[in-house]
Symmetry: C2
């Protein structure tokens, strides 16, 4: 590049994988050099590399190339990739794209842009393999051979009637494996798994996983075939949905872009709401402490176990809630299983609670003899360690119970279980464990 | 079923999707009825439904059918599905499967069973489309038409030399779209994205996403083509890996099976280790409180803010850590970006910290005038609210700093960032926020 040996660079680039070229190009800081490298790519490869680039780089390139070059890239791209690209661009570039693209491409892009974000319609490509049911295999194969180069996926072909209503599906494998004079209607399957344009993309992804399919036709409200979703787009949807779940579980509203391209202000906004809600709810935990202030003054050492109790029970509760939320997402658990889940978590919590309690009892005694705790006259370290450990057992059982039931109830009430996860549960569990703690302490220690 | 109208049931089943049948069959509690329903299925559909069943149901059916029936199912299944099934079965069933399967199938299963769990080899199927580079398209298509029905995926064909070394890849689309006398060598791409048998499945999944491919050939140590991984298996891997990450972030060792099929004992074991570690580390937070006991006795109201401070800072820290961990997994952030990440989180933490602090200040004053806090003589609620709010700002900044740097450092040190997530960070942040709290309080309140 620096030696301006462009023909050599071109040769190297031609042999490279488009995804790798895109990765390398993202590292070029100078806009002019970026456009030069891009122009070195042969036409077909150029549009492929372009699809792999991040929106920032796409914009930098578009600003540096002519309308004719832009038109050639857009016309060459698969329609769904062109739409993805257009959606990320500012208005002036969108206008340029639509003005320069050829009429067919423009129509297809325009149509897809109209579907709401995160709908099946916005995910699909309009280029798909259509066959007629009355065709014999030989005619179908001739048609496939003539049209296949413009299509994204030919793994499945779709059969429509004269009104473009979806009536069947047949794998290309089946077509190839059948005799020349077999009719498509004989080998097609009329029980098609399909999506509708307005359906949420998360539901479509769910269906892909359930039926283990690699592509799914998309129909409009009148069952007319309008597009095709391929599994590589679904992989992206699954990742997006998972990121959203993970963000919600960590008490954040999900961000739309990647972490690095989200502004400081947007990040702060996504995070502050939950922090405020949880701060306010945590003050009630504080009020419980205020209520038992006299006891804490009388047996001062009790205060020092509060963080440990809160943390341990909070963790125990989120272990249960996260397990159940993930099982809900993966379809392993339903609300109908609530009793089995509670019974399971109950037994787990007894084992876990006893382990933690025993270790904690020994730890307190050891720390005491190491001189790390001071007691007032008349206080017995065994009694105090017993109170703390008994609290641990009971509070862990409560925590696991709250942790496993809340997500299931949320799901039943059509709320998002991930939103009810760790943060909310921590606050509830904190309050519960302190109440158990002070309850047991006043029974045992205060006479 | 109850009316014993089997022929009708059979008709209904034949029209249903295998995944739906499998779902319904999981609901049949009686082993005999389950086997009866399964026997109603036509042979080909039977093996497909069988692949969709959970291991529990597979085992119940295998125990109720003859060796001949078992052999027919296994021979009919795709090899990778047969291996998945065999891996989940107890030893006696594995033996029966291998004894009854036909020699070719047995050899293929045996070979795949030898690859370590979670390796590319364990994920692949051995059935794939091989072409010779010297064949013209017409010959290749003839070959495809004869052999395709036994293959799982024919979207890509692979070209090998006489020693079975992988030398190229060509999409079936390209083959179909080319003239009859074009040679495969002219249209094949010799720059193949491949996996090796012993490679970790997570790395393979990474590569699938990066290059947006739908299948990937697998080679052995000598670059000989031995199998094919299709994207539907990769979707399962991605889900598995994400579940592992989510479990680790919630302080649990990942489970191997689904939540419902993991035993109580196994669940307890996966959870108790982290609970113990975190409990022990939380005692140090407790010791900090013990150290400042005198101050807490002097200004008793300070105790009641401890849970709120710990929770808020813990949440602020895990927000940052979870964002960074997810960005690492998605490849959006690298260790090299650490300064940009810190600068970003620093600005976010100032905005978020100030918001939380202001709301908290007002809340304390309001609660005070509502009579929810009692002060001793000589104490000023504005001063106390100021101390708490100032702590919030500083502790939130520290929490976000710890939260965003730890995962990046872990990643750099080749440790798993998810393991360093929320739980560990909460403990650190708890200690830090208490130290800040008592530090500011002793400066301002104690004269």
């Amino acid at each position: 590049m620096e030696a301006r040996s462009f023909s050599e660079l071109r040769k190297v680039l031609t042999d490279m994988n488009p995804a790798d070229i895109a990765e390398q190009m993202a590292g070029i800081d100078d806009d002019k050099s970026l456009v030069i490298v891009f122009r070195l790519l042969p036409k077909e490869q150029a549009s492929e590399v372009f699809s792999y680039l991040e929106p920032t780089e796409q914009e930098r390139i578009v600003n540096g190339i002519s309308d004719r070059e832009l038109a050639s890239i857009v016309n060459e791209m698969f329609v769904d990739d062109a739409v993805d690209f257009t959606e990320e661009m500012p208005a002036n570039i969108v206008k340029r794209v639509l003005q320069t693209a050829d009429p067919d491409t423009r129509k297809a892009i325009n149509q897809l842009l109209k579907y709401p974000d995160n709908s099946a319609g916005s995910l699909m490509t309009t280029e798909l393999l259509r066959l007629k049911s009355e065709w014999p295999v030989s005619a179908a194969l001739n048609y496939v051979r003539r049209s296949c180069m413009e299509l994204e996926s030919i793994t499945y072909a779709f059969v429509t009637d004269d009104q473009r209503h979806l009536s069947g599906v047949v794998s290309l494998k089946e077509v190839l494996g059948s005799d020349d004079d077999t009719l498509i209607s004989e080998i097609m399957d009329d029980d098609v798994i399909y999506a509708t344009t307005t359906e949420d993309q998360a539901d479509v992804a769910e269906r892909f996983k359930k039926y283990d399919v690699v592509s799914m036709p998309v129909v409009d409200g009148e069952m007319r075939l309008v597009g095709l979703i391929t599994i590589d787009d679904v992989v992206d949807v699954i990742e997006e949905e998972t990121t959203e779940d993970i963000y919600k579980m960590a008490a954040m509203a999900p961000i739309e872009d990647s972490y690095m391209s989200t502004s400081v202000f947007a990040l702060a906004r996504k995070r502050v709401v939950w922090l405020l809600v949880l701060m306010i709810s945590a003050t009630f935990t504080g009020l419980i402490i205020t209520k038992f202030e006299n006891m804490l003054t009388a047996v001062a050492i009790l205060t020092s176990f509060i963080p440990m109790l809160m943390d341990t029970c909070g963790n125990a509760g989120s272990q249960a809630s996260v397990s159940v939320i993930r099982a809900l997402v993966l379809g392993e658990v339903k609300f109908g299983n609530i009793l089995r889940v509670i019974w399971k978590e109950f037994r787990v919590s007894i084992i876990v609670g006893l382990c933690v309690a025993v270790v904690n009892f020994i730890r307190i005694i050891v720390f005491y003899y190491m001189g790390m705790y001071q007691l007032d006259a008349g206080q017995n370290i065994f009694l105090i360690a017993g109170v703390v450990s008994m609290t641990l057992v009971l509070a862990v059982i409560c925590a696991k119970f709250v942790g496993c039931t809340l997500p299931l109830l949320a799901d039943k009430a059509k709320l998002d279980p991930a939103l009810m996860a760790s943060p909310m549960i921590t606050t509830i569990v904190d309050a519960v464990s302190l109440l158990v703690y002070f309850g047991i302490a006043s029974l045992v220690l205060i006479r």
